[in-house]
Symmetry: C2
Subunit: 168 residues, 2 copies
């Protein structure tokens, strides 16, 4: 799929068909995460592929906005090492966004669940056995979509300035 | 350009030819930023398009790793509003990554300069007149590339676990 089309048509998908995500598709998604940019090419990320149903259920049970994690056939957790990069949060977010776009291009639906700094983070870290200083940035649910939600965005006129903030 | 190819072939480009970036190309890049996902669709971002040479020079002069900002024909600054989203940093990073990928797909080179939380951020905020509570997340330099740098990444075997952290 064309890059601009993938960016423009990606939606947060929270409802999935029951088919599993093939290994080769999952690997292409992880590859997309691997090639994200990071500060000084530090690559401060670890990707945990969660297929085990009990682990997905445990993650879903503690997630106010992530009950659908139990139904998603696969989940990727993005952990980051804040000691490895001064911009570990941005780096992990770039890897997450690459994986969402790759998922879209490969026909999968996905949803980004923000964990970093939330009440959810510590509990999810325990479930995933993420060690002390590492942080959980995000969870990405993955599956073949069974919904086509509509999303809207502010127009460019509302969010773009020229040369200085406030200058139209 | 194909999505996976754009993700896989994007490099940090710090050297540019002198041609300007056409307005319609720049608009497609901003569109890509606009369509990024954000927590609760809060869209906590503002994009400042910097073409003015004095502003680019001022930004370059204070940037240890960003001297090339003076030579890039265009720069996009991504400001975020931490009061608008609990995940404003991740949201702004997703928008930044979308714009880097769109630039690659449209034949442009770009480089992400991390500003958030650095010594550079406050000085750059002053130059760009970004108001008090707003934060400067990143600067994106843009131009037609005059270099083809090689980048490497860790293999998936080093960064992927299954079901729990540490489990191969």
């Amino acid at each position: 799929m064309d890059t601009i089309e993938a960016i423009r048509s990606r939606r947060s998908i929270r409802s999935y068909r029951s088919e599993t995500v093939p290994d080769d598709i999952l690997e292409q998604i992880l590859e997309a995460g691997r090639w994200a940019p990071s500060a000084n090419n530090s690559q401060p990320w670890t990707f945990i592929v969660v297929r085990d149903q009990k682990v997905r259920r445990d993650l879903a049970n503690i997630a106010t906005y992530g009950r659908f994690l139990a139904q998603a056939p696969a989940v990727i957790a993005v952990a980051i090492d804040p000691d490895a990069s001064p911009h570990a949060v941005e780096d992990g977010a770039a890897a997450t966004q690459n994986m969402l776009l790759a998922a879209r291009a490969l026909g999968l639906g996905s949803c980004w669940i923000g964990a970093y700094g939330s009440a959810y983070e510590g509990m999810a870290k325990d479930i995933l056995a993420i060690p002390g200083r590492k942080r959980l940035l995000s969870l990405i649910s993955l599956g073949y979509p069974s919904e086509s939600p509509i999303e809207t965005r502010k127009g460019l006129g509302e969010i773009v300035f020229h040369d200085k903030y406030g200058q139209k």
